[in-house]
């Protein structure tokens, strides 16, 4: 009797244990909201400014005690997309989340509220809403910031080599500058003129590619999103630029990655130029603050007929979940408005996030770093090339165009073969 009693007791306690475990997992880890508070869940992707973002959220909560905001940050790029998708699929939908461009907007169409009544939307700089504006005038996202890329160069090396970077505007100028620097490699103490990180599909496919195919779509991300095919009219120019970078690059390019390019080679002065954007600034600053502050500049990638134009665009948007409660949506909009249009928010955006603002009414003098300043200048003057690469078929710009460029560099395919294959894959994706 005693034995069977023990046995039963054991089973009972096991089952209780299982039940307790099960019950625990259903409660979520969020801080409990006080009575009457509106809770807004934010799911965002920019790992780089997680701490600063949480700080601004805290400031907002202090000003608005009736709103409680939970922030969740998940790593950049693909991981965010996957994580966002699973949280929607699991029914654990955030109230504010990020969308990258027209294809994300289409996919999450049912979940994106119209934000055209927000103050931030009315302050957004021209062109920064292109990716999220619908034909019926609805605005489904608010731009994070602006980013731009070009050739970032080491001022000291250029000076020593006797090359004036500011006067480089055409392809021929650039070629000559590279050749001049290359001929003095020994004296300048550099490994090569440039570092082409051909391992990074996004550097080639997204950025270099975009510079030369934006004009195919009149710089419009929407036009790119709707196009059945890509003409690649500047295919030869793209080839010429890629060849030039490859010729003067540290070899082998196909195993060279972003961190080698920016940290190991450029920040330490082993190459004179890299093709990158203003987002590399914090990295270079960490490596060598003085160098970052005084010794780097950015010039546009020369495109025939578009000399002096810098590719500037909005990498990401904030979306507000339409399926959330009305009051939560209002609170979400209030937060976004406050972040981008209030004085406290503006100060934070410039000095803590170190963003290039995508909105009017910012004091440009306060823009923190030289690269961002340069990008903002081009953006103000309207000398920009659009970012259309987020309007290509999903993944095309990296996994097709970038990969085909790798194939060409490795000698596995001729340029024409590679580009024909890229075009046909665009067409089959858009069928």
């Amino acid at each position: 009797m005693n034995k069977s009693f023990l046995k039963k007791g054991f089973i009972a306690s096991m089952l209780t244990g299982v039940l307790v475990l099960g019950a625990c997992s259903s409660g979520d880890g969020n801080d409990e909201a006080a009575d009457g508070q509106t809770v807004v869940d934010i799911f965002q992707f920019k790992v780089e400014f997680k701490d600063q973002f949480e700080q601004i959220v805290q400031d907002f909560e202090e000003e608005n005690p009736d709103i409680k905001i939970n922030v969740q940050t998940v790593g950049g790029g693909n991981d965010y997309g996957a994580a966002l998708k699973s949280s929607f699929a699991a029914g654990n939908e955030p109230d504010i989340f990020n969308v990258g461009g027209p294809s994300d907007v289409d996919e999450y169409r049912d979940y994106l509220a119209d934000l055209s009544d927000t103050e931030a939307a009315s302050q957004a700089l021209e062109g920064t809403l292109d990716g999220v504006e619908q034909q019926n005038g609805e605005i489904l996202g608010l731009p994070y910031n602006q980013e731009g890329y070009g050739y970032i160069y080491n001022k000291e090396i250029f000076e020593q080599a006797g090359v004036d970077a500011e006067s480089i505007s055409t392809y021929e100028d650039l070629e000559e500058a590279f050749a001049t620097i290359d001929s003095q490699k020994e004296e300048l103490g550099i490994d090569a003129v440039i570092a082409l990180p051909a391992k990074e599909l996004w550097v080639m496919g997204n950025h270099l590619g975009n510079t030369f195919f934006a004009s195919d779509f009149d710089n419009s991300i929407v036009e790119a999103y709707e196009a059945d095919t890509i003409p690649l009219e500047r295919s030869q120019e793209l080839k010429r630029m890629l060849d030039l970078q490859n010729e003067y690059s540290v070899q082998p390019v196909l195993s060279l990655d972003y961190s080698q390019q920016v940290e190991q080679l450029f920040s330490t002065g082993r190459v004179a130029v890299i093709q990158q954007g203003n987002w590399v600034y914090p990295t270079i600053e960490q490596m060598d603050a003085e160098f970052a502050e005084n010794n780097i500049g950015m010039i546009p990638i020369p495109v025939d007929g578009l000399e002096g134009h810098l590719p500037v665009g909005v990498p990401n948007y904030w979306g507000v979940n339409k399926q959330s409660d009305e009051e939560v949506q209002e609170a979400a909009k209030q937060f976004l408005d406050w972040m981008y249009t209030s004085d406290t928010g503006k100060d934070f955006v410039l000095n803590e996030f170190k963003f290039i603002p995508a909105y009017d009414g910012y004091d440009e003098e306060q823009i923190a770093d030289p690269l961002s300043k340069e990008v903002y200048k081009y953006s103000q003057e309207g000398n920009t090339i659009g970012w259309v690469f987020l309007g290509t078929p999903n993944g095309w710009q990296e996994h097709v165009l970038g990969a085909e460029m790798q194939r060409y560099l490795s000698g596995d395919a001729s340029w024409d073969e590679a580009m024909e294959s890229a075009i046909s894959q665009w067409e089959s994706a858009r069928k």
Binding site: G81, S103, L254, Q260, P393, G395, A403
Partner: protein, 286 residues
Amino acid sequence: MKNKSLSFWLFMTPTLVALALVVFVPFVYGFIYSFSDWNGLHATEFLGLDHYVNLIQSENFLSAIWFTIKFAVVSIVLVNVIGLGLALLVTQHLKVSNLFRTVFFMPNLIGGLILGFIWQFIFVSAFDSAGRLLGWEFLQGWLADPTTGFWGLVILNAWQYSGYIMIIYIAYLEAVPKELIEAADIDGANPFQRFWKVTFPLVAPAFTISMFLTLSNAFKMYDQNLALTGGGPFKSTEMIAMDIYNTAFSENNMAFAQAKAVVFFILVAAVALTQVYYNKKREVDL
């Protein structure tokens, strides 16, 4: 079947429920989704076998399968040969045996991603410097072309996994009765014959296990692939798992990726079951 009592099922329930929830149910869902236009959020249309037809024509998928098979064959052979070799070495009753065992097993304790990045550094930077110093060209430019990418993955996998497989072989080698070896010795068998005719058949069960493990491990590899080559250059070193992931999350083609995953499952299951069946037949009982 006395053990299939009420308490048996009571004890089994938690495990069965967990297994069903995280393995069987998603598996069935995934299977169903592969016939639809599911985009990760909702499915609107039943497409029948469309995805499977496209899949046979998908160059990327076919080349990923081919690459994975090549990788699996080479790494299974290498891992098992090295694993058995190491096991033989550390069962020789040398003084440093225990130290060796620990050292050989250690790579297995490091996560795949970290290993991938460590080896990336070795292949790209260390190999390059060594090659430049010694003037050996074949050490330069690793991971920059498909061939070195392939061998890089094989070396990484063999290095990481041989120690683990070694442990399995050690267990079986130590269980081989000394009398049999001695008897063979007295009968005039030379060391090679002793190994080949006596020890080898007795450790055959270890082959079944080891080959099954290395096989499924090679087929399902993802993190080392991601960290070491990222599938590059131009997708030439992309293995099936990575191709499926990219289809799902970069190209946003969830249902198509699901169809690929189903084919992948069938492939792995078929290969693994065949292998176990044949190896089982060759085992010798004491």
